[in-house]
Symmetry: D2
Subunit: 307 residues, 4 copies
């Protein structure tokens, strides 16, 4: 049975490039969707088996739509991540020169990552928003705009030429993509895992964020991303998206998650999955699985009268 992957289209986006890096996606059917919500809803309705979307970018930060769509609605689960270096190409219709460029289109996320480059190379061009970089390329192809910032892999698809490559204001910029599935048993532990949760803090609990961080800190768990988002229930009401080292099967992670569950108005588990960068975190003394097992055995023994 061939699997089907949804991704933020059209074809030619960085998301499609990320999808191709996933081992499971080889040979799978790959279906572009117009928006992140559309791709996720297709997965929720079981029209596809998986969905790949961008989560955060080292320059522009997290992608609000992705965070918000995953924090609410029918639960989905992250099962893999891919890190893709960010590097844009300036795509034009064949024959276009720098002097011809009056308008440059791109997804709003691309513009701030190339701001300085644009100011230097096409200072007089106006920037235009597109719903994706690939759409920007399409609209260059159809004559709407003069140039598009997109992945160079998009040029062939739209019959465009690459006028400049390797465009980025910040070197080493990286975008992080995630593969989502419907809720499932998480992929097995590798010792180099990341876990994602969303914590909802009730308004009547002002110190909750400190308590949450404490639950991680006392068990030596390192947060790799913390991102606040409004819940829509008024200024001052937030949810926190948190990525941290470790796997839900780790004893220290399990106990910390139960702590969050008791502190928070709600906690949504969004998955445990291998870190794309394969960094192996150091485990603090007293927080290995064996330490939790020994402590639990000791507790049982004193409860049974064997002090």
């Amino acid at each position: 049975m061939t699997e089907t992957y949804a991704f933020l289209g059209p074809r030619g986006t960085f998301t499609e490039a990320a999808l191709r890096r996933l081992p499971g996606a080889e040979g799978a059917e790959q279906v572009p969707y117009d928006t992140v919500p559309a791709a996720l809803d297709a997965l929720r309705r079981a029209e596809v088996d998986a969905a790949v979307v961008a989560l955060e970018n080292s320059v522009e930060g997290s992608v609000p739509t992705t965070l918000d769509e995953l924090a609410t609605g029918e639960p989905l689960q992250i099962v893999a991540e891919v890190h893709l270096p960010v590097s844009f190409a300036l795509l034009v219709r064949p024959g276009t020169t720098f002097a011809d460029i009056k308008t440059v289109a791109s997804h709003p996320h691309a513009q701030p990552q190339c701001r300085r480059w644009l100011a230097e190379h096409v200072p007089d061009a106006e920037w235009r928003a597109a719903t994706s970089n690939a759409e920007a390329a399409q609209r260059v192809a159809d004559g709407h705009y003069d140039a598009a910032l997109a992945g160079s892999f998009a040029a062939a698809r739209y019959g465009l030429s690459v006028l400049a490559e390797d465009i980025h204001d910040v070197s080493d910029a990286v975008t992080r993509f995630i593969e989502l599935r419907r809720p499932c048993v998480p992929p097995p532990r590798t010792g180099m895992d990341r876990t994602t949760v969303v914590a909802f803090i009730g308004e009547d609990h002002p110190g909750a964020l400190l308590e949450i961080l404490n639950e991680f800190a006392i068990r030596g768990i390192n947060l790799t991303l913390i991102q606040s988002r409004p819940t829509g229930a008024g200024l001052g009401s937030y949810l926190f998206w948190m990525d941290f080292d470790g796997h839900v099967e780790d004893a220290r992670v399990g106990e910390a998650l139960m702590g969050l569950r008791r502190i928070c108005a709600d906690v949504r588990f969004l998955g445990s999955y291998p870190r794309a960068d394969q960094v192996r975190p150091e485990i603090r003394r007293g927080t290995h699985d064996a330490d939790f097992t020994e402590a639990a055995a000791w507790l049982r023994s004193i409860r049974n009268g064997h002090a």
Copy 2:
């Protein structure tokens, strides 16, 4: 001497509406700028005396451009805030009916706040991005698009009709705007003040966020906003924008800020200013100015041998 205020234009945006609520803006010259960076740079170059921009919205969250522009570059300082209820109107050329609407334009921030309303009332219309709601209105006026989501106050300026009003998916949605000045002595304490700082955490200091929150917690200072943003130096390197209760002249705030300064790679002070909602925070015992004064006097006395 008439003062000059920059704001995110064009005329007819919510930002202009917010600006009009500022007492100091009455009688001032009001100059629209195309982008947030343009408005802030005009202030930095002293071409204007103040600038008003949106900081966060209770539905869409903080405005990344505003955060990033204020966290870096020449320092600016927040001296006031305004909260504006969010409510859109659907503006059309006179004579247009719901059935005629094929495209709806707006600033990308407006769309998610009206998503459900749009799906219900103009389910077949396509959404188009504009650099501002006012620009969307302009492009409706010039025939580019059929309808615009904007403030109803924008209709008259662009010769449009209001087809629907009071549009918002979430009732009680609010946008928070700030008035910026070049660095100055903060406005005097009112007892209902807010302070904003940006904390940069070095990569070699993983527990720094917990330490920072602790500096606030031990002095009973309540955070009202915490927002992480990438610094651009790679995934995992963040700055934290933090709003909290109190004024830089409060002893507890002063000591907490010194604590942050010692913990962080860098701290940027972005101002102390009256809360728009005039909420008076409770001050925890032992953290009033008088407690700090007494403790300092006691320390002096024991250092001088009068135990």
Copy 3:
């Protein structure tokens, strides 16, 4: 089968008075021992079924011998506590007047609790140490000393008169006694329980005390006694005796104890038992047994793929 209780003798001490308050001691054989270690060793060797000793006094503090003997050696377990108001009588041979008193004997613990009274009423008398107040009474009876500070109940036993009663510098002084057994299943939960542990902190773990207190604090567990004692391994090496609210069967107590076990070089469980003062502690939200049960069920469900 009649049970046998060891107590710190001789007959006529406050410890015997405390023992008589224990429901289980009625009808039991009561055997005096010369020293706390002797009584505890008799229990360890199973020569008696229980032992009653003093643990702390609201004026003089904890009894070092009791702490040290229970922190080390074969484990014993506290199954009950008794609070006894402290009030001494001045016992003399019949016919003795205040003017005749040149020496007053007592256990070293009694003297500081009556210092001011002695200075006022028998300013010229010298104080003499005895191994117990009852022994002091005995040595008054045999003519060694002129007066003894002891419980008035000791007068009859030694043929002495009560020259003054209700002697104490501090009103409301209380001594806390404990009943010890060999390790056993703790008495059932009453909701008004106390638990005692001894935590040994390795020398290479300077922040351990703060970590320990944090394990209690995050679960809303209130410490009622914390007492440091040297371990004998050099200045700076300590154990901590800790009494706190709750029962080892409480989920919050169980998890906190496992935390201590993981932090500390060693933890000795010394029992859960009803509070003598029948104070019912408030349980903080999120720390009831039901909260732990719900969180554990949730963790199981997400581990099994039912997010």
Copy 4:
């Protein structure tokens, strides 16, 4: 002018031996007092210039009388400390053999430090309490008891013989003595200093101990002794004697002390003085005096409008 030092007498105690190690005591008049309170009161009344008393022992723990007398009453201040190895001699009248010994006298603190030795060498001898080891020696000299545990230096003074030397159950046992003065400017910083305070916690402030430890922890200050004592106001009401690294003139210590002052019902400063063991503590980054100075300058500058 010759200075006068009070010490816990009689002559021949370990306290006198400790006093002799103090540079300032050379050539000073040395006056024995019967009790710790008597020595301290003489200092308070200015009858002497300094007083030397034992504070804690690595086997027996802190000396309750010393803690209690310094925590209350007219304030006194620690200006120096001396660590003295604990080693007892068994002093007897010339001609006495082990077989002759029916009674061994000592201060109650000496007995537990020699318990095992006594059980092995004079198993049938009874122990008798004396108000000091030197008094025990005196009462051996006058025929009351057969042997005394005391410093070997006491033998000559009382015409006794040393039957055994170097007696101690725990090797490396150390007693810590302190020199007290009336309140004065503390001795200058050496970088290897210790500071002592007593913190009184109000009954209505259950989490205060954790808050206090936090004030030290966030500034990297290491506690070397924490000792709870009842305040006399009922079970559950405590004061905490705390020794920690650093000098009251250190910025991090000053700010931590002000924090304690704001948290606690009362704080008594008992002095900053050079550590006898000359251990130099590591200073955590961000907590050097220079860091505090820089942070204070920054705070002044932002308060003055120079962000």
